[in-house]
Amino acid sequence: MDHTENSGRERILARIHSGLRMPAPKHSAAPTAQMVFAAIPDPLARFQDECAYNATECVLMRDSRASSRALADALAPVPEGEIYIQDAPALRRLTEGSGIDRAVRWSTEGPPTEASQATVTLAECLVAATGSILISSAAAGRGASIVAPVHIVVAEIAQLVPDLASAVARARKSGGVTGSSCLCLITGSSRTADIEKILVLGAHGPRRVVVILARQLD
C-alpha cells in the first residue's frame, strides 16, 4: 500500500490556514488561583488513601525479603494457570525469595498468553494524587498489565511522585516517553457502568490490582 499518496493533506492544511485568518474570541476570566489541584503534603498517605478508594491492594513493605513474602501472599489466591513475570533482576530475586512453586512464564519468553492468571511487573512511577501506576511498554510490553485478571506491581517508595504533572516530567526524564511505544496510567480495577450506571469491577482488564510498595529493594 502506497502511503505517500495523500493529496488530501495539502488541501486540509490549506483550508486550516485560510480558516484561521480571522482570530477567534477567547474567554478571559478574572485571574484565579493558578493551582487547580490542592497541594499534597503527605504523598505516601495520599497514595494509600487513593488505593483504598480505588480498591487497589497496596501493601507497604520494608525490604526485599518482606516484599517476597508479600508477593507470595498476593499470588496465593490466584487459581491454577500461568503466572507471567517481567524479567527484571529485582523481580527475579523477589520470585526466588517468595518460594512460590508454580510455573512462571518470564517476559523474555514472549508476551503473556490468553490463559494468563496473573502478571507481575515493575513500574515507571506511582502517582499519589490519584493512586495511579504509570507503566511503560519498554518494561514487559503492552499486554502484561492488561491481559490477566490479576496485575501485581512492585515498586519502591522513591518511585512515588505527588501528582500527574510530576509523573509526566519523570517519564520524560527517564526516557519513558521517547523510549517506549506505549505508556499507560492505570488507576484501579478495570470497570464498567454501562448497565444502568451500576458499577461492575473487572470488565476486560484486571479485576485485582496489587501494589507491593517497598521502602527499599536491593
Binding site: M1, G8, I12, A24, P111, A138, S181, A203
Partner: protein
C-alpha cells in the same frame, strides 16, 4: 421543512411521550450528577480548571496547522503512518484497502464517535470483515443493531432487563439481570476476539503534538487489549483533538474524567506513540493514524463558533440538557446529539438540512455552564438561528410574521391597539368555547396547556386610567 426536521419532529414527539425511556435516561443522569459533583469537588478550583482547559484548546485550535504538522512528524519518526482524510469516504477507503491488503478477517473496535460519524463498520462488513465492538455499551447496541444513544454512555437508554433479554436472545446467555454476570458474558465473548483479531481500531481522545502520541481513555481496558495483541492498530480521529504538550494531560485527564463520568480519573489513560518499538515484547507491527476533516475545517473558518472544536466529547452538555433528558439521544437522528450535536451538525452536514436542531432548544444555558472547555454552546445555537434567517432559510410565513410584529411594536399606540384587538377577539372566542379546538387561534399553545384567563384591560390601559395611583 427538511426531511431530517420532519423525522426529528416525529421521533421527538414519540420520545417525549415515552415515560419508560425518560426514566432510564434520568436514572443514568442522576447517577452521573452525583458522581460529577464529587469529581468537580476534587479540584481546588474547578472554574480555574475550565478556564485553563479553554485556553489550552484555544491555543491548539488557533494554531492547528502547526500542531498537526508537528504531530505528524513525530508519529512518522516513531514508525507510524499518518493519513489525512478529507471526507468520511476517504477514511473508509483507507481502512478497507489496508484491511484487504493485509488479509484482515476480524477487527476489534474500541469506542469511537468518529467511526460512527463516518459509518465505518457497515463499509467493512460489506467487504466481508467482521467488526466487533468491544466497549460494553457499544457491544450492546451493536447486538441491537442500533447506534449509541449517548457520546459516553452508549446504552443508557436501556434497562438491565432489556440487556438481559438481549444477551439471552443473541448470545444464548443464561437468564440473569445481575450486572456483574452480564459483564462477564461480554468479557468471555470478546476475549477470544482480542486474541484472534488481526486489526484493532480505536479513536483518540487527544493527539499530543510535541510527542507524536495519541491518548486513549477507557475504564474497561478494551482499547488496551485491542492495541496490544492484534498486529495492526488503526486510530481514527478528528483533526481537532490536538493538545500542544504532554503536560497538558495532567489537566485534561482529570477534567475529562470529572466531566465525562464524574470519576476522579479514568482507569486507563494510555499513550501510544507508534507500532511496537524494536526491543519490545509485543504490540502491533503497524500503526496508522487517520486525521479526519469531514467538515471540521468549515467550522474552524467560522471564527465566532471555532470554539466548538474545543470539544473533548465528555458528554456533560448532553447530561445537563433538559431537552436531551426528555427525548434521549436517538431522537436527534445524528451522530452527535445533545447541545454539542445541535451546534455542530449544521456546520458539518448543512444548515438548511439541520437547522431545526438549533431551534429545538429552550436556550436555557445549562450546557454552557457545565462545558469543561467553556464552549459558548447556547449562544452558538442562537447564532445558528441567526445564520439560518440570514441565509433566508426560514419559512416565508415566519419572516412575514416577524416583519408585521416588528412594525406593530415600533409604536406604542399600534401595540396597544393590536393588543386590545387581540384580547377582545380571544375573549370572545373563548367565551364561545373555542379553546383548544381547531378554531382556537392560540391552538399551538393550547394544544398542550390550559389557556390562561385573558384580561379585559392591559397594564398600560389601567395605568393610564389612574390604576397606578397610590
Amino acid at each position: 421543512m427538511s426531511t431530517a426536521a420532519r423525522e426529528f419532529l416525529r421521533n421527538a414527539a414519540q420520545k417525549a411521550a415515552d415515560r419508560a425511556n425518560q426514566r432510564n435516561i434520568r436514572r443514568a443522569i442522576e447517577h452521573y450528577n452525583e458522581s460529577a459533583r464529587e469529581g468537580r469537588a476534587r479540584f481546588l478550583d474547578w472554574e480555574a480548571a475550565r478556564q485553563q482547559c479553554h485556553e489550552i484548546k484555544w491555543e491548539a485550535l488557533n494554531h492547528l496547522d502547526e500542531y498537526l504538522v508537528e504531530f505528524e512528524e513525530r508519529v512518522k519518526e516513531r514508525g507510524g503512518h499518518v493519513f489525512w482524510a478529507e471526507t468520511g469516504e476517504d477514511a473508509r477507503r483507507y481502512v478497507a484497502d489496508l484491511a484487504k491488503s493485509r488479509g484482515v478477517r476480524t477487527i476489534v473496535k474500541s469506542k469511537s464517535m468518529v467511526t460512527e460519524e463516518i459509518h465505518l463498520t457497515p463499509a467493512l462488513e460489506k467487504i466481508g470483515i467482521q467488526v466487533l465492538e468491544t466497549d460494553l455499551g457499544e457491544f450492546i447496541v451493536q447486538l441491537r443493531n442500533e447506534p449509541p444513544s449517548h457520546i459516553v454512555m452508549p446504552a443508557m437508554h436501556l434497562s438491565r432487563g432489556q440487556i438481559s433479554k438481549l444477551f439471552q436472545e443473541k448470545l444464548g446467555a443464561e437468564a440473569t439481570e445481575d450486572p456483574a454476570k452480564l459483564v462477564a458474558v461480554a468479557r468471555q465473548t470478546l476475549r477470544r476476539a482480542f486474541f484472534s483479531a488481526e486489526m484493532g481500531i480505536t479513536g483518540a481522545n487527544f493527539l499530543i503534538a510535541d510527542s507524536g502520541m495519541i491518548a486513549i481513555t477507557t475504564n474497561e481496558g478494551n482499547d488496551r487489549l485491542g492495541t496490544a495483541i492484534p498486529r495492526i492498530h488503526v486510530a481514527i480521529t478528528g483533526i481537532e483533538k490536538v493538545l500542544p504538550r504532554l503536560e497538558d494531560l495532567a489537566l485534561f485527564w482529570p477534567v475529562l474524567a470529572a466531566a465525562g463520568t464524574g470519576q476522579r480519573i479514568t482507569v486507563y489513560n494510555t499513550l501510544i506513540g507508534g507500532p511496537r518499538a524494536a526491543d519490545e515484547i509485543d504490540g502491533p507491527e503497524e500503526f496508522h493514524v487517520i486525521l479526519l476533516d469531514n467538515g471540521r475545517t468549515e467550522l474552524l473558518a467560522d471564527a465566532e463558533q471555532r470554539d466548538v472544536l474545543h470539544c473533548i466529547r465528555c458528554g456533560a452538555c448532553l447530561n445537563a440538557c433538559p431537552v436531551f433528558r426528555t427525548i434521549g439521544g436517538h431522537a436527534y437522528g445524528t451522530t452527535y446529539s445533545g447541545p454539542v450535536g445541535s451546534v455542530l451538525t449544521p456546520h458539518t452536514r448543512g444548515l438548511a438540512e439541520f437547522q431545526h436542531l438549533s431551534f429545538a432548544s429552550s436556550l436555557c444555558g445549562a450546557c454552557t455552564s457545565v462545558c469543561p472547555v467553556k464552549i459558548d454552546l447556547h449562544h452558538h445555537l442562537l447564532q445558528n438561528r441567526r445564520n439560518a434567517v440570514r441565509a433566508s432559510d426560514r419559512p416565508w410565513l415566519e419572516r412575514a410574521a416577524f416583519s408585521i410584529w416588528r412594525w406593530t411594536m415600533m409604536g406604542q399606540r399600534r401595540f396597544a391597539a393590536a393588543g386590545q384587538l387581540g384580547r377582545t377577539l380571544l375573549r370572545g372566542l373563548y367565551a364561545m368555547g373555542v379553546e383548544a379546538t381547531p378554531l382556537d387561534p392560540l391552538r399551538p399553545w393550547t394544544r398542550r396547556r390550559a389557556a390562561s384567563a385573558i384580561p379585559r384591560k392591559s397594564f398600560r390601559a389601567m395605568w393610564g386610567q389612574g390604576g397606578g395611583k397610590e
